[in-house]
């Protein structure tokens, strides 16, 4: 396999809160390879967004801080030790980001054309006129009709779907190596979501960029990702190729998530779901963090925290004692 374009090792991002230290991201590692789509899935509070913000050092400090010993390696350098100017040269240039709320992420007092052009002026150093032409060209490429006119409009004049296209155009200005897309379609209607996913896939193929897709939607993961990282309680609990994950989930949390989703092609009726709720980040359970909600848990799970254990499929591993003691798995 080729070397990863972005490697995260033992990332720990903690927040100081009145209720104590919240270990939002607590020892996360993964590799993103050139050209692939890696999905990070999980529910609210699992740490998936904090992970992506940590990569670009966008975590507000204080109350947050990335712990020493964490490593985020991009093009042979640890992003966590770079100076602010060095980081600025990478952010929005080599690594770009698309956020969930496009209307909130755009500046309301500049036209969308000016905002795209600004990226080109800062990172590519092109003239005002060239930047403006590039903005219109990019709007065209991301499928905004009547791009020249639209470039002169403000975010509030555009629909949510068009704003997300603008965000993608901004992210693509410098042909990034890595695109981090944090819930890029969550705020959008399903028909618009389909348009945006199509657009992202097309641009990814054209530019050969790697995409880190942060999402809670397993349907989107199934349709777009090459590999998946499942997060729970600040940790990676399972990682696998997309096909393996959906066909044979190793971790009971992954299996529970899959059983919770109502589907167009499945049986109707009661959903299996997962009992209970995610614990607060200030008080993760001892032992396996999922044990209070796990149907298989036994004594060992309540005291000993499992490491990521390799499963039968290549590249699939899960943070669960069942991997080494499969006979303890109860039938569904």
């Amino acid at each position: 396999m080729t070397a990863p374009v972005l490697a995260v090792r033992d990332l720990k991002t903690y927040f100081v809160t009145p209720a104590g230290t919240a270990r939002a991201v607590d020892g996360v590692s993964w590799d993103l390879h050139p050209g692939e789509t890696l999905a990070v899935v999980g529910e609210s509070g699992c740490g998936k967004t904090v992970t992506s913000l940590s990569v670009l050092r966008l975590v507000p400090e204080p109350p947050g801080h990335v712990l020493p010993g964490s490593l985020i390696e991009f093009e042979g350098r640890n992003l966590l030790t770079l100076s602010a100017p060095e980081l600025r040269a990478i952010r929005g240039n080599r690594i770009a980001m698309v956020f969930q709320e496009p209307t909130a992420a755009l500046n309301p007092v500049f036209t969308v054309g000016e905002q795209i052009a600004e990226v080109a002026r800062v990172h590519l150093g092109v003239s005002r006129r060239a930047a403006r032409a590039l903005a219109v060209d990019l709007l065209n490429q991301v499928g905004v009709p009547d791009a020249a006119r639209r470039a002169g409009e403000y975010p509030h004049q555009l629909s949510g779907g068009t704003c997300q296209r603008v965000m993608i155009a901004m992210a693509l200005v410098c042909h990034p190596q890595v695109l981090i897309a944090d819930e890029p379609t969550t705020a959008l209607d399903v028909t618009v979501q389909a348009q945006i996913l199509e657009l992202l896939a097309r641009k990814q193929a054209e530019l050969g960029m790697a995409v880190l897709l942060i999402t809670h939607d397993l349907g989107i993961v199934a349709g777009t990702a090459d590999r998946v990282v499942v997060m729970y309680a600040g940790q990676v609990v399972e990682t696998a190729a997309t096909g393996d994950l959906f066909a044979h989930p190793l971790h009971p949390y992954t299996a529970g998530l899959l059983a919770s989703v109502p589907r167009l092609d499945g049986a109707r009726g009661r959903l299996r779901g997962i009992p209970g709720a995610v614990p607060p980040a200030t008080a993760w359970p001892v032992g396996c963090r999922f044990h209070p909600r796990c149907p298989h848990a036994w004594d060992k799970c309540r005291t000993e925290e499992p490491p990521l254990l390799d499963g039968p499929a290549p590249g699939q591993s899960a943070r669960c004692w069942l991997v080494s003691e499969p006979e303890r798995r109860k039938p569904a």
Partner: protein, 327 residues
């Protein structure tokens, strides 16, 4: 089978604000433009559609949280829109609502117990002495123990708050529950719990649901019948299996094809619609879907002639000139 809920020709137009920058003729926002449906007692009708299609406004007008512009709503034989203030208050006991955002719909300064007891006080359904027991009973019914009564909404998770919202709605023993995106704000594992709860409660109390949602997979799981809305109108209505199995309207088809399926091996024949939902200020003439319609038979007739909802048998109705030859 007589319908508990009968809605005929419901219309809600809002006057568009005219400022000094936009003088001229007063315009209207056609939020809901002639919507009709029935729901039999004990059944679930889902109203689905995308942002701005008018589905939430339908729910609000039925409860008269906003006054309708035209149309008729008969609830168990009573003409709801013709009721005066007092009889309307009394009727509201029989029609309750669950909102999308449980944190926005609970008073942050009221304990869970007080929030659930409030409707009992307003409708004089329990004496002061009876209330704590009734509150505990309602909490148990939604899967929470009595220790939740003295807590405040901020101490609860999203799923727990939604359970409190449901307990509060149930406290007055309603017959109709209008659920407006009740699981949209919840994580999938919690969403499954709340959907199961709604299912159990419906069976236990023979509740009738108007389930307003945008998620077609969720709707398939809960609904008996489905009505698809587009730009203020119903474009297709059918029992759930027919709507998902043999949709007649091209919009229904596109909507279904756009739902991501959590199966990497699934065939993806996504119909990607171009453009956006039309402005409710000036919906297109003829069929409101025609500018985005991917149907190969689309003709100039679609731009000229408004398609009526036509019957296709088996309880299925669709408003498409080419409903006989679905895509």
């Amino acid at each position: 089978m007589s319908a508990l809920v009968r809605v005929e020709g419901l219309v809600k137009h809002y006057p568009a604000r005219r400022g000094w920058l936009t003088p001229g003729r007063a315009e209207v926002v056609r939020a809901v433009d002639g919507v009709s449906f029935d729901i039999a007692a004990g059944r679930t009708l889902a109203l689905v559609g995308e942002t701005g299609c008018g589905k939430t406004t339908v729910g609000r007008t039925l409860l008269r949280l906003v006054e309708p512009t035209a149309g008729r709503f008969t609830f168990d034989g009573v003409d709801v829109f013709g009721l005066g203030r007092e009889p309307m208050r009394a009727l509201r006991r029989r029609m309750q609502v669950i909102f999308q955002d449980p944190s926005g719909s609970l008073n942050p300064r009221m304990t869970v117990g007080d929030a659930i007891a409030e409707p009992l006080i307003i409708h004089r359904l329990a004496t002061r002495a009876e209330r704590p027991a009734r509150v505990a009973e309602l909490l148990a019914e939604v899967g929470l123990d009595a220790s939740f009564a003295p807590r405040y909404p901020h101490e609860l998770s999203g799923g727990q708050r939604q359970r409190v919202g449901i307990a509060r709605a149930l406290s007055v023993r309603p017959e109709l529950l209008i659920c407006d995106e009740p699981v949209t704000a919840l994580d999938v594992s919690v969403q499954a719990q709340v959907l199961n709860l709604l299912r159990d409660l419906q069976q236990a109390h023979r509740l009738t649901y108007l389930f307003i949602a945008h998620d077609l997979a969720v709707v398939r799981n809960v609904a008996d019948d489905v009505a698809v809305m587009y730009a203020g109108q119903i474009v297709e209505r059918a029992p759930v299996d027919r709507l998902y199995g043999a949709p007649r309207h091209p919009y229904t088809r596109a909507l279904l094809s756009a739902v991501p399926v959590p199966d990497p091996g699934a065939a993806r024949n996504r119909i990607v619609l171009s453009g956006d939902v039309p402005s409710p200020l000036s919906p297109p003439a003829g069929c409101r879907f025609h500018p985005r319609c991917p149907h190969p038979l689309k003709s100039e007739r679609c731009a000229r002639e408004v398609p009526e909802l036509r019957d296709f048998g088996g309880g299925q109705q669709a408003a498409c000139h080419f409903g006989e030859q679905p895509m």
